[in-house]
């Protein structure tokens, strides 16, 4: 049994990092990630994390030093969000095709402008199409557990991809809960031997050219390029399986059974469902409980944990159990005038034998709370379309007047 402590999500992530025994951590501070950077630095200072701490001059270099270290064989971790992530983008969207199993927390933050240093998932959602694995956590314990699992997923030979463990700025970064910190020995056994650069290395003992040019049209270049692309896609698809396996093993070993891809909450006997992501799920579950137990509404909840690779099958299985859905996003898809998760759920429905009506809700922007009351409205609106009401072409903005 591990020890029980009370801490916030940023500290929990730092504990997860400590237990994963990385070789190198690199950080550059940004709200609301800063305290995570501080915890990590303190842990290094106290010898809890025995890694090289690289306090570099910006997020761009943060990820760059980690790439260099990973190519030399290091297990690595960092954390960022918002503008930091944007600045990091150049090396960020090159990490997956390099197939480097770097783990990074995104302490999600809304995008500027207008200026805002508050929570919101605009950052994570904006970078969703780069080949990183994205997992979103619901509570502090899940943050700790998922950070550890992330290393195992990332370094799995069938995956070899970087993983983002996302937890909501403000609500999880600073929200304090009681958590269990597992034993180091147990985690060591769980993670096993690291081997980060067996497939691509910068090592005089195994000299190779890393990331060669592919000649343009006319030669074998483009087809070679396709091979690399397909390999990346295969790694992403494999990740769906590996995420499930790893979560299962985690549950068996530590007794906490987190839904790996999609969580089905009270879908038995439900006619319609609320779809959530991240920390809002707690309030969502409370609202569902109340609606079901006190008002007899036949509503359940679907929580997206893994957003990339998109768990289409698992989602469709859940959706097939209901006849209408209300999808709550914490970010905006400007191109679709809806939430991004909503849009992707619509896409998935193509694979359902009968598509169901669904509404887009956008809430919790710029640090706003999504309360049980907000979910009441979600439930009511969803019930309306279940009963044949029209699906509006506009999203419903939950915090418009709060």
């Amino acid at each position: 049994m591990g020890k029980v402590i009370v801490c916030d999500g940023n500290e929990a992530a730092a504990w997860g990092v400590a237990l994963a025994r990385p070789d190198m951590v690199a950080v550059y501070p940004i709200t609301p990630q800063s305290s995570l950077a501080e915890y990590i630095s303190q842990f290094v200072a106290d010898g809890i994390i025995k890694a090289d701490l690289m306090d570099v001059e910006g997020e761009h270099s943060v990820l760059s030093v980690l790439q260099g270290a990973a190519l030399a064989g290091a297990r690595t971790f960092t954390a960022s969000c918002g503008q930091g992530l944007a600045f990091m983008f150049e090396p960020y969207f090159r990490t997956p095709p390099l197939r480097l199993p770097i783990v990074m927390s995104i302490v999600t933050r809304d995008g500027i402008t207008p200026q805002s240093v508050w929570g919101g998932q605009q950052d994570a959602m904006t970078v969703r199409e780069t080949g990183w694995v994205h997992m979103h956590c619901e509570n502090v314990q899940e943050v700790l557990d998922t950070v550890i699992m992330a290393f195992k997923i990332a370094e799995h030979r069938d995956v070899m991809l970087p993983v983002n463990v996302n937890h909501d700025g403000n609500y999880l970064s600073y929200g304090v809960e009681k958590v269990e910190v597992p034993d180091q020995e147990e985690v060591d056994v769980f993670l096993g031997e690291k081997n980060v650069n067996w497939h691509v290395a910068l090592d005089p003992e195994r000299p190779m050219g890393v990331d060669p040019l592919t000649g343009g049209a006319g030669g074998i270049g483009p087809s070679l390029f396709v091979k690399y692309r397909k390999g990346l896609c295969r790694g992403m698809q494999n990740a769906l399986r590996v995420i499930e396996e790893v979560h299962r093993e985690w549950g068996e070993r530590f007794g906490r059974k987190w839904a790996p891809l999609v969580e089905e909450y009270r879908l038995d006997g439900a006619d319609y469902a609320v779809v959530t992501i991240g920390s809002m799920s707690g309030a969502g579950k409370d609202a569902v409980d109340m609606a079901r137990d006190e008002e007899g509404k036949r509503v359940g909840l679907i929580k997206m944990k893994t957003f990339r690779p998109f768990p289409r099958k698992a989602l469709c299985e859940a959706l097939s159990k209901v006849k209408a859905a209300g999808v709550v996003d914490r970010s905006v898809s400007f191109g679709w005038n809806s939430g991004p998760m909503y849009q992707e759920i619509l896409s998935s429905m193509y694979f359902l034998s009968t598509p169901i009506p669904a509404i887009s809700f956008i809430g919790g922007l710029a640090g706003a709370d999504i309360t049980v009351d907000h979910f009441r409205r979600v439930i009511d609106e969803t019930q309306r379309v279940l009963e044949g009401g029209e699906v509006a072409s506009e999203p419903i903005w939950l915090n418009e007047s709060t």
Partner: protein
Amino acid sequence: MGKGYKTIAFYPQRCDGCQKCVEACSEFHAGSTDPVHSRIKVVEAGGAFGLALCRQCGEPQCVMNCPAGALEKDTETGVIKWDRDRCVNCHICTLACPYAGITYNVVSEEVMKCDFCEGDPACVKACPLGALELKRGAEIFNEWAELEDLVVPGISACLGCNSELVLRHTLRRVGSNVVVATPPGCMAGVGTVGVNGKTGVKAPVFHPLLTNTAAMLAGAKRYYKRIGRDVTMIAFGGDGGTADVGFQSLSGAAERGEQMIYICVDNEGYMNTGVQRSSTTPYGAWTSTTPVGTVLRGKSRDAKPMPLLMVMHNCEYVATASTAFMEDYYRKLEKAIEAARRGMAYIHVFSPCPTGWRFPPSKLIEVGRKAVQTNIVPLWEYENRVGRIRFTHPVENPLPVAEYLSLIGKFRHLDEEQIAHIQAQTQRKIEVLKKFTSEQTTTTLHHAA
């Protein structure tokens, strides 16, 4: 001509000053171990060993200056022979020889010099530490040629490409226990990391981003240190990847004292993408984004003083270099390799580009040499522990800059006023550098900064 005569090479780092060679020489030539008779002298000063010994020069100054015809190079053996009967003891040879290779013996009252002991030098045999070696002159000069060329033949550089020259020579010297970074630019474009999976370099090599070369190398280095492996990190950045978009990561790495050799191959613009301006493009130069027309006359700003900026970063070692001065470059590489064990070593290599600058490939070395002789490219080095800049090839009487500019197409349009600006700017640059040759200035500036 072209004959490889032998000479005695001295490796001071192996020498401990035991004087066995001196005794052996005296013994052979005078039957006594009294060092006064020795033609070889090993001395110590300031913690370093020096050798006074005839180098059996190819263009022997002693021979050229001897008024008595008493010295001559033996065309068979290459040994400079001294003829006692002809010598008039005027000592002009001791003034002509730069190496104290011929000296006065106060006992025999005549000059003496190494005669190779009939072809089998006693000193070489006597040295227990291998600090003296009998070698062909060409071998010493070509010691580097014996080192493995780690770049494959037939990479796709332009005809007369200087970057290729820099790459081949540098890797030769640095060896294969390296991680080589070649960010986008000519170095990457010539195929260092290979094309379609066939590599261009026989060592671990990769493309960093244009923006993160120093950071990626820093990460790899830190990990190797952590696991106790000694691997050298080396970057070949272009001027864009160094002075422009890559500057932040380089600056950060330099400030943190990351251990690597960072070579900026400065061809004064974005040559690989079609000759656009960079911040090191010199004033007046034509590029495709600083064109020449009725209103514009080439670049209107002076180049960013990259190497000095790196001095101000407190790097362990900073130097400028030119492939027209290869010995100078190799010497600097040696220092850089050593300095990179302690922190960042930055070498800014002037790299003329026949394609982008518009001059015939055959003129490459001449352009390089003229750049130095006009002081357009002063050769210097900065060693952190010494604390100041030292000119490694001072040019006290520089040629007019026009002699350099006129070789190069990208300067063809310059008018007199522009040439005057370049001349003045060149002068100013030297004056600024000279300030840094005083330890006081450099430290003061570092403190102020």
